[in-house]
């Protein structure tokens, strides 16, 4: 995946810079703290309950928290093809799938990684801020009355308004300005810019 390069001052060849860009993106992945905390809490609680039940069974006072005798009697009678058992098994399997997915899928990118040309400097900025910066650049083009940029996925859409009639030339200038700024900031990933200009009627 070729990406926009940071500029003439970075000495690295393009391929190495791209690889480091991917490294940078990895740093900004979600850390999955909340699912991990929930899973850890469940494990802790389960371990606690199991230990307490087993210890109290050893000392002959079964069923402190979970009524072990009732559960054991139920388990002696219920078969594997019982509806409740199969539903529970299915639920466990689904939870297992979800955990695997949560653990492997990178998650929504909270920050866009910007390339800095220096591999030990990782820069991240929220997508909204990148859009705001590009919008500000577009708004500074001569003839533009106001401008706004939206970033969805890898697509930047710039909406500009002007008092002029000739929107085609202005559109070109805005497109170039935004693309230049994008090249300067060099976010990781190939972004495309679409410019829409609304002129005077």
């Amino acid at each position: 995946m070729t990406t926009l390069h940071a500029g003439a001052d970075s000495p690295e060849p393009q391929t190495r810079a791209s690889v480091r860009g991917k490294d940078a993106v990895r740093f900004l992945r979600s850390r999955r703290k909340i699912p991990a905390a929930i899973a850890a809490l469940v494990l802790f609680a389960a371990g606690l309950v199991i230990a307490m039940e087993a210890i109290s069974a050893l000392f002959g006072h079964p069923g402190r928290i979970v009524p072990y005798d009732r559960v054991a009697d139920w388990a002696r009678v219920t078969t594997w093809q019982d509806n409740a058992v199969m539903a529970g098994a299915g639920a466990i399997a689904i939870v297992g799938i979800l955990l695997i997915l949560i653990g492997t899928v990178p998650g929504r990118p909270r920050l866009v990684a910007l390339r800095s040309g220096d591999p030990s400097m990782i820069i991240g900025t929220p997508r909204r801020m990148l859009a705001r910066v590009l919008g500000a650049v577009a708004a500074q083009v001569d003839g533009v009355r106001q401008a706004r940029a939206q970033i969805r996925g890898r697509q930047v859409t710039v909406h500009a308004g002007t008092d002029l009639r000739d929107t085609a030339a202005l559109r070109e200038r805005v497109q170039t300005a935004v693309e230049d700024e994008l090249a300067r900031l060099a976010p990781v990933g190939r972004y495309t810019v679409k410019t829409k200009v609304r002129g005077a009627p």
């Binding site: 699912p35 850890a40 039940e53 002696r76 098994a89 299915g90 695997i100 400097m121 500000a136 009355r145």
Partner: protein, 197 residues
């Protein structure tokens, strides 16, 4: 990788590994139980009870079953608790040795270095606020810098300035040749002025 651990990525890798391992235990367990109930292991297997008599009497008769279960429960609880506590560990580097000169070893706290840098960056044009903290270990430190810019922002100029001035200054102050840095740029709440032409 030193860098990964310094920026708190270690917890990312640990968490994700733990979640996947847990999922890899639950998925086959649930799937085999479901398959057994659906009769994929034979019709008789599907009709046996969850807790067959031999197992139940064995558990009651043997002297090591319940203690083993208790130990298993404790181990599980300890794993869960340590995993939970790991989420709250703050990865702040507090002490860093500078040179051991003739007057002894100079120590600087990570906090001081961070605050100095944050003060320097806060004074830059276009920056509303900056917060910096050193993370990692004394022999493998890393910088975590959060910059809140004013609106409108010129991030490329700011990035250049950080790269050319602020970071080298910090590296000189700490006597380091390299310092991996994670820089997060954002806008602050409130005070948004939009340019009007």
């Amino acid at each position: 990788m030193n860098r990964s651990r310094a920026f708190g990525r270690g917890i990312a890798r640990g968490n994700r590994t733990g979640l996947v391992v847990l999922g890899l235990i639950l998925l086959p367990a649930g799937a085999t139980a479901l398959a057994r109930g659906l009769g994929l292991f034979g019709a008789t297997a599907a009709r046996t009870p969850l807790l067959p008599n031999p197992v139940s009497t064995f558990a009651g008769a043997s002297s090591w079953f319940w203690p083993a279960v208790a130990v298993g429960g404790v181990v599980l609880g300890v794993i869960g608790l340590s995993w939970l506590l790991a989420q709250f560990r703050v990865d702040r580097l507090n002490r860093m040795r500078l040179e051991s000169g003739p007057s002894g070893v100079t120590e600087i706290t990570g906090r001081q270095a961070g605050e100095t840098l944050a003060g320097q960056v806060s004074a830059y044009r276009g920056v509303r606020r900056a917060r910096a903290s050193l993370r990692g270990k004394p022999d493998a430190p890393a910088l975590d810098l959060r910059v809140t810019s004013q609106d409108p922002a010129h991030p490329d100029a700011l990035i250049t300035r950080l790269h050319d001035e602020a970071l080298p200054d910090l590296r000189t102050a700490l006597g380091l040749e390299r310092l991996p840095a994670l820089i997060r740029l954002r806008f602050g709440p409130g005070g948004r002025t939009r340019e009007v032409h």
